[in-house]
């Protein structure tokens, strides 16, 4: 068997499918994106070469920067709100044991099982100023006004709540799995030494969860940057561009405005950003590990 795996033909045939998938499904589209980013292609007809004009226009495009700001805001929301909460809930779930543990694990994961389209429409109705659940609940508490949750000022926060809520289950589940993998002997030893729950969490759970946190946070930041479907269905970037996100803006420019070349330029900048953020996060975590 060992000799079989050292045979070059076997190695090539085993690696070839993955290489082909990478070449044709990832590398080739990226190369095409880079090429089309230098053209004024509309998606139909001929693609005229325009040099770096698309990139120059992009640097001056206020909507692009607004979309990028919103994407980064979401990333911050994920890191500062969703993940600490997810970790705490995972730690509490771990302590619950028994049926309650399984029940709440399912409950917290339900939003991830529901289709994005359903989630978006559900929240559209919840936020509706005239008949929405949220305003009706506020009425029960005596508030008689109508809050427009999707006004220009409120919309981005309303969208962030939905996105943070929707992604919560995944984050929680990964942390939960991480916690479950910690050797219980460590907790027993700490308890014998007289450590309280807070000390156990900060001195045992948290340090041992570092690799999980690294993966989870990196995934969350990338998810924030490429957020598209929920926003598209919930607000489509509106009102105006107040809830515009980078990936949604890319879609609008490429497929609605027929500015395929410009859309590809956004895509290229987007890939560079995602790579830069991933490298930065890896460095941050690597430094902390030292």
């Amino acid at each position: 068997m060992k000799r079989l795996y050292s045979n070059k033909m076997v190695i090539i045939t085993l690696v070839l499918p993955a290489i082909l998938v990478f070449l044709f499904a990832i590398l080739a589209p990226i190369c095409l994106s880079v090429y089309y980013g230098f053209t004024s292609y509309s998606g139909m007809g001929e693609a005229a070469f325009v040099g770096v004009d698309n990139y120059k226009a992009l640097m001056k495009d206020e909507t692009f920067w607004l979309a990028l700001r919103n994407s980064l805001l979401l990333a911050v929301g994920f890191i500062c709100i969703q993940h600490p909460l997810a970790m705490i809930v995972a730690a509490v779930l771990d302590k619950l044991q028994g049926r309650a543990e399984g029940f709440f694990r399912c409950v917290y994961f339900i939003p991830n099982v529901i289709s994005v389209a359903v989630i978006a429409y559900l929240w559209k109705f919840i936020y509706n100023p005239d008949f929405g659940l949220l305003n009706n609940v506020l009425k029960l508490f005596g508030y008689q006004g109508k809050i427009n949750w999707f006004s220009t000022e409120n919309a981005i926060w309303s969208v962030l709540v939905v996105l943070i809520w929707h992604g919560f289950g995944w984050g929680m589940l990964i942390y939960y799995t991480g916690i479950k993998n910690i050797d219980p002997v460590l907790y027993e030893a700490a308890s014998i030494d007289g450590a309280n729950q807070k000390t156990i969490f900060f001195r045992i759970t948290l340090p041992l969860m570092k690799p999980v946190i690294q993966v989870n946070v990196t995934m969350a930041v990338i998810a924030a940057l490429k957020q598209m479907e929920t926003v598209y269905l919930l607000t489509n970037g509106g009102p105006g561009n107040s809830t515009q996100f980078t990936a949604n803006y890319l879609y609008q420019q490429a497929f609605k405005a027929f500015k395929y070349g410009y859309g590809n330029a956004i895509g290229v900048v987007f890939i560079i950003l995602c790579l830069a953020v991933t490298v930065c996060l890896n460095k941050v975590f690597a430094e902390k590990e030292v």
């Binding site: 000799r3 079989l4 045979n7 033909m9 076997v10 090539i12 045939t13 085993l14 070839l16 499918p17 082909l20 509309s42 998606g43 139909m44 007809g45 559209k124 936020y127 509706n128 100023p129 005239d130 008949f131 109508k146 427009n148 949750w149 999707f150 006004s151 220009t152 919309a155 607000t235 489509n236 970037g237 509106g238 009102p239 105006g240 561009n241 107040s242 609008q252 420019q253 497929f255 609605k256 405005a257 027929f258 500015k259």
Partner: protein, 445 residues
């Protein structure tokens, strides 16, 4: 040696699997396509089985225009047993995206199109639509000028399905019960809106989340201010200069309506369905939408007391404006075309012509109350039309002029995207009128 044989076997098996996985489809497709092409050409001649692919923007095949389209397709297949028609239907946005993909990869034989520059200019530039012979349609009863949007350089590339009229739908019973009158001026409309708000109802349900209904509202106001400015709109889009004062005046009137609470709270983020539901469930007294929604009067899902009392009026006149009450925001938008590279082009054009025979689209459309056709529908009046249908006939009969293509569809797609997004910002006050006009001007360049 044994291992070498095993390794070679593995390599051969995997390579074969890869090649069949990647290659067989291609070659099969290629064979099918080649065979299909040959057989289709032969079939056209011999009258044997032909498959026509129709790509439609009407996904609801059981109601409204989708039903009408399906009825005609079924008729055609009944009359031509050798023809099978395969329909692929997507809603508008998904449709336009896939249309673009098809334009690069080969179009279905018959496609839905829009006779508006924002859609058609780029499509015609890509040369994906077949030219039609205008003289073939001399006896089809097309309303004068309705083919114009589907022509370029004097050549015809598609046929219009509808005459779309933008109106305020209103609930006549609610109006009568409250002593409200149909407004004759824009100021009266705003006063009426305030009275409706005071009565605890939503004055006008507006699909502001989509942008285009408000852009048509703006077109409506431009018509009422100028009495007709389609040339000025085209000139502004060409130059990217919207400094002409009437653009500012019309936009300010839109902002004034939004400020006065004429539309529902959060109108700028609410979609088509939500706005329609507000009206059809009686929460809103009016609904700003096109004549294609006139089938509401026949929709049994809507409460009878509401659906039988739906009527329509057009945008009231603006004080000091040159437009009359009979100048109407109307245009010929959606239609059909044949793919330039269709392998069964002859049959596709035959089917297209069949659809537009006066007793098909027009008649079925009329019978199903799906709005006004681009062809003369008077021969199909039965005397059993709904009051709403008669309302629309009256509006069209009395029309002294029409706006033509709405402003958002007069320019390139980039302009359309910009105006439909920015009109939300200007109407809700998060952008000034001047900034709005500057931004839509910039999108034209």
């Amino acid at each position: 040696m044994k291992n070498r044989i095993l390794a070679t076997l593995m390599a051969v098996t995997m390579a074969a699997a890869l090649l069949t996985g990647c290659g067989s489809n291609g070659s099969a497709d290629g064979d099918q396509s080649a065979a299909g092409s040959a057989s289709k050409q032969q079939n056209t001649v011999s009258g044997e089985s032909i498959t026509l692919k129709v790509f439609s923007n009407l996904p609801d095949r059981k109601n409204g225009q989708g039903l009408v389209e399906q009825l005609i397709i079924d008729d055609y297949m009944d009359e031509n047993p050798n023809v099978t028609i395969e329909v692929e239907a997507l809603d508008e946005e998904a449709y336009k995206t896939k249309f673009k993909a098809y334009s690069m990869d080969g179009m279905p034989d018959v496609v839905s199109i829009w006779g508006q520059p924002s859609f058609l200019d780029e499509v015609l530039e890509a040369e994906v639509l077949a030219q039609l012979d205008e003289s073939d349609y001399a006896d089809f009863g097309f309303i004068s000028g309705s083919l114009d949007g589907f022509m370029k350089d004097g050549k015809l590339y598609g046929l219009p399905r509808n005459t779309d009229i933008m109106t305020f739908y209103y609930n006549e019973k609610i109006f009568q019960d409250n002593g409200w009158e149909v407004p004759e001026t824009y100021d009266e409309l705003l006063t009426l809106g305030a009275a409706i708000r005071d009565a605890g109802m939503i004055p006008v349900a507006m699909d502001g989340g989509d942008g285009w209904p408000m852009a048509i509202y703006l077109t409506d106001l431009l018509l009422k201010i100028t009495g007709g400015c389609s040339d000025d709109i085209s000139a502004a889009i060409t130059s990217g200069d919207f400094s002409n004062p009437f653009f500012k005046e019309a936009t300010e009137l839109l902002v004034k309506a939004a400020d006065a609470g004429l539309f529902q709270d959060g109108y700028d983020s609410q979609d088509y369905g939500t706005a329609k539901n507000l009206f059809t469930n009686g929460q809103a007294a009016m609904y700003y939408m096109g004549s294609w929604e006139s089938s509401m009067a026949l929709n049994e899902d809507i409460d009878e007391e509401i659906r039988t009392n739906i009527r329509a009026f057009t945008m009231p006149v603006v004080d000091g404006g040159q437009g009359k009450s009979t100048d109407v925001a109307a245009w010929n938008g959606g239609g059909y075309a044949v793919s330039a590279n269709s392998e069964v082009k002859e049959e596709a054009i035959k089917f297209l012509n069949y659809m537009f025979q006066p007793d098909k689209l027009s008649k079925y459309g009329w019978e199903n109350g799906v709005g006004m056709s681009a062809q003369d529908q008077t021969p199909f009046m039965t005397g059993e039309e709904t009051a709403l249908q008669m309302n629309f006939i009256d509006i069209l009969d009395r029309a002294t002029s029409v706006s033509g293509t709405p402003i958002n569809d007069c320019g390139p797609s980039a302009f359309k995207t910009a105006i439909e997004s920015e009109i939300q910002s200007v109407s809700n006050g998060s952008k000034s009128v001047d900034d709005f006009l500057t931004m839509i001007g910039a999108a034209c360049k």
